[in-house]
Symmetry: D2
Subunit: 346 residues, 4 copies
């Protein structure tokens, strides 16, 4: 039985780690931290866990959180994580960081998009980008995994097969993304107040979202070339789910069926990626609560473009489920352990 700690367990991703690990047969949670809620029972903050989970939040001590555990999850806000993570890594324990602070390789790019200087630029290259479908072998051997963002997970899984075999032009790729409200975190905010977010639809951070360089960096790694995309996130009045609608100009004459076959071949054997049949498109509700990514696509012969749709649950495959998938790989467990979760629909 592996022992793990979770720092920052009062946010949605922290609680989701605990929801999924609750039924994980190979892992015990031994320590959870929270600044705001130190001294409280976990179920005082998350009453859905009453009678199920009775750990007490401790204040976060980066030098002690790793004591006696086999892996640490850091589920802290970005700009907090960069101060804490280096100290945790130094304890010589495997770490999965769910924040955005160690996904980008370059401090300059971080500053440009996150609008703040990075406190630990020297550690930025150490984090292995934790998208198992694209990076599995590196994750297996890693001590420090930077868990991908929700939008980048959906976007990269949707676009990756197109970057193989020069199928598309690398200019003019557009990713129009939509997210449920949990993507905005657990702290109340004026625009996420129920009467404001309900019956409401808008784009935000147009051409300015910090996930843009993360998507580009990993696309460039796959394509071996500089890539600049348009990325536009939208806020959708529902709790969970990310859907990316990806537009790219095809380099070759290819049918929808052929491209679906290419995707199936690209993701052969992947336990969490499902390629939908022609004429069928993903719905976020079919992956809700699960670690799956559903992908559908259509070639528009008229315009020479392909439209790819990819859907995930932002809190699971887009955060905590993927973190556990990474943990499984890092600890040498079967990657699927604890992640056999059929969607709760409706």
């Amino acid at each position: 039985m592996a022992k793990i700690s979770i720092a920052g367990a009062t946010g949605y991703t922290g609680a989701e780690l605990i929801r999924i690990l609750y039924n994980h047969p190979e892992v015990d949670i031994v320590r959870i931290t929270s600044e705001r809620s130190a001294g409280f029972h976990f179920s005082a903050i998350f009453p859905q866990f009453r009678n199920l989970m009775d750990l007490t939040f401790e204040p976060l001590d980066p030098d002690a959180i790793a004591a006696g555990v086999d892996l640490v999850f850091l589920a802290l806000p970005h700009t907090d994580s960069m101060h804490v993570t280096p100290r945790v890594i130094r304890q010589n324990v495997p770490v999965v960081d769910l924040s955005g602070d160690f996904r980008l390789n370059q401090a300059k790019v971080y500053t440009e998009w996150y609008k703040v200087d990075h406190a630990a630029p020297g550690e930025m290259e150490k984090g292995v980008y934790g998208l198992p479908e694209l990076n599995r072998e590196k994750i297996r051997g890693a001590r420090f995994v930077a868990n991908p963002g929700c939008y980048p997970t959906a976007a990269l899984l949707g676009v990756a097969p197109l970057l193989k075999d020069s199928l598309i032009h690398l200019e003019g790729i557009i990713i129009d993304a939509k997210s449920g409200v949990t993507g905005g975190g657990k702290s109340p905010k004026a625009h996420l107040h129920f009467p404001e977010a309900n019956e409401s639809l808008m784009a935000y951070k147009v051409a300015e979202h910090q996930h843009t360089p993360e998507i580009e960096q990993e696309m460039e790694r796959l394509a071996g070339r500089k890539i600049e995309i348009n990325f536009t996130p939208h806020l959708i009045p529902m709790n969970r789910g990310v859907l990316c609608t990806i537009y790219a100009a095809l380099n070759q004459n290819v049918t929808t069926k052929q491209l679906i076959d290419h995707y199936k071949s690209y993701y052969r054997g992947e336990p969490f990626v499902r390629i939908l049949p022609a004429g069928t498109y993903p719905n976020t509700k079919n992956v809700r609560g699960t670690n799956a990514c559903d992908i559908g696509l259509k070639v528009d012969a008229r315009t020479g473009r392909v439209i790819v749709l990819s859907a995930i649950d932002n809190l699971v495959k887009g955060a905590s489920g993927q973190a556990i998938q990474n943990m499984n790989l890092m600890l040498g467990l079967d990657e699927k352990t604890g992640l056999s979760l059929p969607a709760m629909t409706p």
Copy 2:
């Protein structure tokens, strides 16, 4: 490994049986039926199960559904079930019927509330009422369990402790109930069309809902006396959840704290009932997707009344989860097997 069949697996309760049984370690689903969808894969109707479940719907043959299985779930609409269930029982296999057709003991009462004559009045008394917290021993030995309705489950678990020790007047009990929209089933209906049910709130079947006599019958069994209640269901714009607000006049001078202690004692050892501390009231989201029933209460000394709130997920503790709890008891398994489900919140 026990083998089971599910008749009527295209409705929400059928699909929910399969969602929960998917991770049940002691049970294999070997046969699913549907009239409308015979010949289709399960995942063609419920795409969230793509790659997870590949049984094909068969047409329902009541004489064959039990062949080679250890238990049959019947998830048919009421008024259908009464024609099918007697033939299945005759196969001499344990049966859990999720419909309303065998919960009432008297054909006359059935006709009065369901507005149709019962096709198998002779079988009505054979069904054991499947509310384990109130009827566990009978269920353990039963061959035929009538699984309770969603409203009766929440109402009875909320009111049962009050019926012990003459705590309340049996006249004037009021149960004001609220349900999410899945309680209305999976078939599209004008008033459940999204734009009609969304941002909408109403009572329905006022003083006419067919769950009224089911609640009264079981209350009478507990109290040993005739009881007539007011029961008013309301439709709430959310997917899942039932909340019952129960009002009763107290017979004795008792504090909120004393009554909470009484409830805790009444439900001592129950794995799925949680009694909340004073000043705290249940929220349906904390039991969503789970087999739990959360109960909170308040004594209003001014009026001499107690207000009890009880919350369940209508598709789990109010239907399929409870059916599996009953199955576990009938097959001699640990009652909690497969039902350790933390709520997915949010």
Copy 3:
């Protein structure tokens, strides 16, 4: 053209006053105040009014807000209003106060339910209770109207006809109330954060809600006797709407049809009350955005009780629409002016 001021126009009720008055043919808004937003354009806070309304928020000066105007609306939070209102009244201008601070007549009762001492107990009896259907003549002559709460409006309109002709027992009246989330105001709060309030259902302030004594006070005025009710509010995942489900024991043998006729007669000529035919119950969506109150009822002969359902829009008939109805009466205008608003459904 009458001139009016609005104090506290950054809340939902302030904005709703402006939405409705925008098309009122006899009134000009000349001054709006806000502490938080002083100096901002109205449409900077409420972008739906861009190009439509360009007043700038001023800080609130109770001694100046009435200068040159014919009536002042005070849409301040309760416990703020009691400090401001007495100074505004002194300006000798008609005032409609939308807060809860001057609805109760007794300081002792206020302290008991609002958990704070009243700052101006001597003014408490001066406010005329602004429910025109029950109090029209007094409002017509009033200089100071205390606008009713949302729950009391729905509850009192629903129950008032029963208090005439000794139709019901005055003991054991139960009002189970449900409200959309705008009832909780515009300031973000943890339990009203979208992911928390969405797909969620709970009771709150059980037997402790400050609208309880307001309902009782006005019921007592109608009945001429002391009345104690059970009042339980619930939070519903939708923006607008209040539905009250009222239970009372009948004193007489009366049919649903007879009671509906009684209600129709009681509310004859009322422009904003609609009595629904037998078998039909109100839905909050049918009054959304309007000043209407829809009422339906059912006599349950089995239990000797009547169940009355009454629905309003909490921000219109439950707040700003009713305030304008009161203003119309106070200024000698046709009561319906500006309030001919068909519901926007869906």
Copy 4:
């Protein structure tokens, strides 16, 4: 006082015509038709109109609907309208057709996208495309106006200023559109059943939606050149609202501020178009219930693209409000009459 008839008043657009015309000072509704509901009162189908509107539905007689009226609205489903409209036009009365049947000029294109042959190809060119901001003078003199679709209205108002002065490349324009559920009509459908559409997000009719050629046709008219776009609609779990996210490659070096000024200049004097300041993007809730179109934009200098966001209420500016705007023009009334509707938010 002009007299008007409405054919097909049981759908959402028919009811919305009546909601808005209810307060229109220059128009009387004298006749409403419905096949399904002939003989019923309007308020029996739309109970929100109880006591407000008491016309009775008549069956539709295309030869009689125009008798004695000044204008006819046809709010029939597409493929129905093409059979009825020619007969109504022949009555020599001004007609606004809200269906899609007479928006396209070419029967071949209609067949290609609507998958059915057009029954009245000879009439297709007679309909004036009723988008007043782009086509006002023709509408003023028209006897037969084809009212635009919801998506085309939002898309065309968003993209039109870019087609002036060769600001963008005409290749590679992408319109990613999102709509609330009322866009799917009033008839219950499996995928619009509340539990299916709620907490759900998906694209549909990818590269196959029948509004695509309508958008292209009008863009071509403005640009004077053949244009092929990618258009992808998505279904959003809310009642009302369309948001179009438009991507186009710029031909010129232009800043966000310059482009906003261009838009302001292009729409100078337009009563229903609002251009938002830099850094601000439209939200459908701010136009809900109104005839406004809100537009925001951002130049992404990195990629040389502009992202334009345009939002409307699909039932108002996207259907019935625009139809009334067209009616006002056709009848020689002030274009804004009856359309001064501040949004009901929240």
